[in-house]
Structures are given as C-alpha cells and as structure tokens.
C-alpha cells in the first residue's frame, strides 16, 4: 500500500502502516544523530526549544549551506540508524516520537518500543542525499549548532511529499530486517 501522511500523524494512521508499505510525508521533521540523542535524553523535556512530538525524527547529518542568514539543504540522506539503537527506546518514550526515518534498520529494543508506543521505523534510500534535499521546502530552525557542529546538530526541516519511505518496522512487531535474517 502507498500512503501520504501529514505530520503529526495520529495513532490510527500509524496503526494502518504495515511493513513493506510505501509512505510519503508532509510537515516538520527534525534531525538527530548520536550526539543530539545523547543530549536530548539528558535535558529536561520542557526545556527544549522545539516540540519533537509534532515532528518525525530523521537520522541524518545533513550538508547545509548558509546564504545570507538563511540555511539551505545541499544534501540530506539518512545516516546508519543502528548507532542510535542504544538511545531509541528511551527517546521514543520521552518525546512521543511516532515516525522515525533512517537507514539500515534497528534492533530488538527499538522494535519493542515502536510496538508499545505505536510508532514506525521507515527506511529512506541511503546516500540519496540530493534527492532528499529536493523535498525540503524550508529550514525553520537549527539547535545546538555551535556545540555539536553541522552533522550532529538538530535541524528542523519543513518537507513536502518526503519519500519514498519504506515501512521497515511497524507498530505490530514486524520487522523486514528480522525476517531477512532468518
């Protein structure tokens, strides 16, 4: 099945998604890699300058360019999600994330958290950075750029029809990656 969702997506919409489905999303997404995950888990939830629950989480360290005082995305494909496995279950619970975008798949802990909190992990084609950048319409914000540097900072992207995303781990306990390992 192919779905086109506006973010934030409701529980019923997430429940409909099954592994192998194709998804395109429109709305806000934020980037977080190892450092941003680590930092956001240590911070007080109410002290954050943005609300992660209204956005999808994108495992990505983008290549950005500043023209005047405006940031533009040059290339922004996903980074390897398995590095975030050690943080993700706690992260999903703390921030109410229900769509994750990454590549390469995640493990057992994340699978369980996705099922418990009704969320999905979706795969975007790794390395397709120019194509992904083309779907980003605006960059309304960036946080912790000075402390963490360009790849690790939390970038907020306004995206339109961002995809194709493949639902790779769904909220019903199914994982494409686990099936393939058998």
């Amino acid at each position: 099945m192919e779905y086109h969702l506006d973010i934030p997506a409701g529980k019923d919409e997430i429940k409909k998604l099954k592994v192998g489905d194709i998804l395109y999303i429109t709305g806000k997404i934020f980037t977080a890699r190892d450092e941003a995950h680590h930092m956001m888990l240590e911070k007080d939830k109410d002290s954050l300058p943005f609300n992660p629950a209204e956005m999808a989480l994108f495992h990505c360290g983008p290549l950005m360019k500043k023209t005047g005082d405006k940031w533009q995305v040059v290339s922004a494909g996903p980074t390897t999600s398995s590095r975030m496995e050690i943080f993700e279950d706690e992260f999903i619970e703390k921030y109410g994330i229900n769509i994750i975008i990454g590549k390469g798949g995640m493990g057992n802990r994340t699978e369980k958290a996705l099922q418990k909190h009704i969320a999905v992990y979706t795969a975007y084609t790794g390395g397709a950075g120019a194509l992904a950048a083309d779907k980003v319409k605006d960059v309304p914000g960036v946080y912790w750029l000075d402390e963490l540097g360009m790849p690790e900072a939390a970038w907020i992207f306004e995206v339109k029809e961002f995809g194709p995303l493949i639902v790779a781990i769904d909220s019903h306990g199914k994982s494409i990656y686990r099936e393939l390992k058998k």
Partner: protein, 286 residues
C-alpha cells in the same frame, strides 16, 4: 608553475568525485534496476534519480561527503614534489567551502569538529612513486557508514582460502543494510594486519566489473559475488537480489603463521575521480 591553478584543479577533482559517479558504477546500478522488483527496485530507482540530480545540480550525491582520501602516484622527475601535500590539503579546505563539503573531521578526544575537513593525518594520502615526470591523483572520498563495516580477520592458516571466503561472506551478511548496499567489497589477503586492510581499500580503485588478472583470484571474486547476493539482503538491506555490485580481491605474501584478511566496504556511492598534473603545471581532471 601556477600553484593556485593546480589547487583549483584539485578542488574540481574533489567536486567531480562528489557529484558524478563513474560510468562503471552507474552501469552496474542500471543492471541492478533491470533485475530487481518491488521495494528493491524502488531503492535502485531512488539511487539512479539521485545520481542524475546530483550531476545536473553539481551537488554532492550524498550528505556524507566522506573523509577526504587520495591515492597519489608521483613521477620521480616531477619538479615540485615538495608542494604536493600542501596543495592537496589547501584544496580540501577550499573545496569544503566552495562545493560545499560537510565538515567531517572530529577530534577523538575533544570531540570538536575541525570544520574544514583537515586535521591530524587528514586528508589521508597514500603516496606511491613511479617513473616519469607526471603526478596522478585519485580522489576516493570515503563515507563513514560503509567504513564502519570494515573488518580485519587474523585467520588461522589452516582454514585456507575456503576459510577466507566464509569469513568475507559471513561479515557481509552481518553488515546487512548498514553499509548502504549494493556495495563494492574490497578484500585484501595476506601481508600483515595493516597491509591486508590497505590492499582491501586499494582494490576499490579498480573499476566495477573488472576481474583480477589472476584466474584463480578472478574465480574467487565471482564466487563471492554470487554467495553474498544469494543472501537476499538486497539494496539497503530491505531484501533483493543485489547486495554487492562487485567484489575485488588483492593479495600479498603472508607470514607462515598468519592469514590476515582485510575487508574494506564501499557504499553504492563508489566515488572516484582522477587527475593528471603535467611537469609544466597544466592538469586534467577525468
């Protein structure tokens, strides 16, 4: 000799590598598109569209513009050998701003980003010396996701070449979707620990689809391609027929007690570009 012009040439060399994939890789990806279906075909389609868009818009195809890695063959009669290292390093800094490249050099202790893609030992340059008066530079920007799947096996010689094959196949199955398959796998056999890994990395310079000149090694490359693709990992680890575009093997003589195997993995963005610098300072990027 106009050093600023050579520096400009090296920036264009890096830009070519970052924005245009070599024809041999594109050809292999198009072949994969023909044989794949479903989710796997969607992945290859996105890759091919991305390659087109990056080339047309002259933007890096992947946001991970890599650790700047160069293989340089220096003609011993080239007049300004002593300038080459600084020229490459300065060109990397310039390319970071002009192309642009993602700042990718982080101090392992302090954690701070050097912001210009240089730092201790980086850019990473492998020097070789050859007859003649020209300089040949190959740019091979190396992404982190695929590099993280590198492996070194210090096997027991008793397991033989069959043991080497099993080691490579198992490691690539364990790597699954992480290194952005379909990948190109470079395997170095023999030498010592560092040489095996180096040979694996160097074998990635060989174009996709070109077999080793030694028939036994060529047959082993073909066998490994088949065995890894039969795993069904597929593009991006989402299932499919194409897990590797190629496997390249190089060997060195080994110590009687050791059988080192170094695996260097390259993502589908097998970025390579070449440059020749003539003794009068003129240059060509191709």
């Amino acid at each position: 000799m106009n050093f600023d012009d050579i520096k400009h040439g090296i920036v264009l060399l890096i830009k070519k590598a970052e924005t245009e994939l070599p024809d041999d890789v594109v050809k292999a990806l198009k072949k994969a598109y023909e044989i794949e279906e479903g989710v796997a075909k969607i992945q290859i389609k996105a890759i091919l569209e991305n390659i087109d868009l990056a080339k047309k818009s002259q933007r890096p195809m992947c946001q991970d513009t890599g650790i700047q890695t160069f293989f340089v063959k220096v003609g011993v009669d080239f007049p300004n050998i002593n300038k080459l290292k600084d020229l490459i390093t300065d060109a990397v800094k310039k390319a970071t701003v002009e192309i642009p490249l993602r700042p990718n050099t982080v101090d392992p202790f302090k954690g701070d980003n050097h912001k210009d893609n240089t730092g201790d030992y980086i850019p990473y340059i492998t020097w070789d010396f050859v007859e003649g008066d020209k300089v040949f530079i190959t740019s091979l920007p190396k992404g982190g996701g695929s590099e993280n799947m590198s492996k070194l096996g210090m096997l027991k010689p008793g397991v033989g070449i069959e043991g080497v094959k099993d080691f490579v196949v198992n490691e690539m199955i364990n790597a699954a979707g992480n290194p952005c398959p379909p990948t190109i796998v470079g395997v170095g056999i023999g030498g010592g620990a560092d040489l095996a890994l180096k040979l694996g990395k160097k074998s990635l310079l060989r174009p996709v689809g070109i077999r080793h000149e030694d028939k036994t090694i060529a047959a082993m490359e073909e066998e490994l391609i088949k065995r890894i693709n039969d795993s069904g990992i597929g593009p991006m680890g989402l299932g499919g027929k194409t897990t590797v575009l190629d496997v390249h093997i190089e060997k060195a003589h080994r110590h009687p007690a050791s059988l080192p195997v170094g695996i260097a993995v390259q993502c589908w963005a097998d970025r390579r570009a070449h440059m020749v610098i003539n003794p009068d300072g003129s240059w060509e990027v191709k």
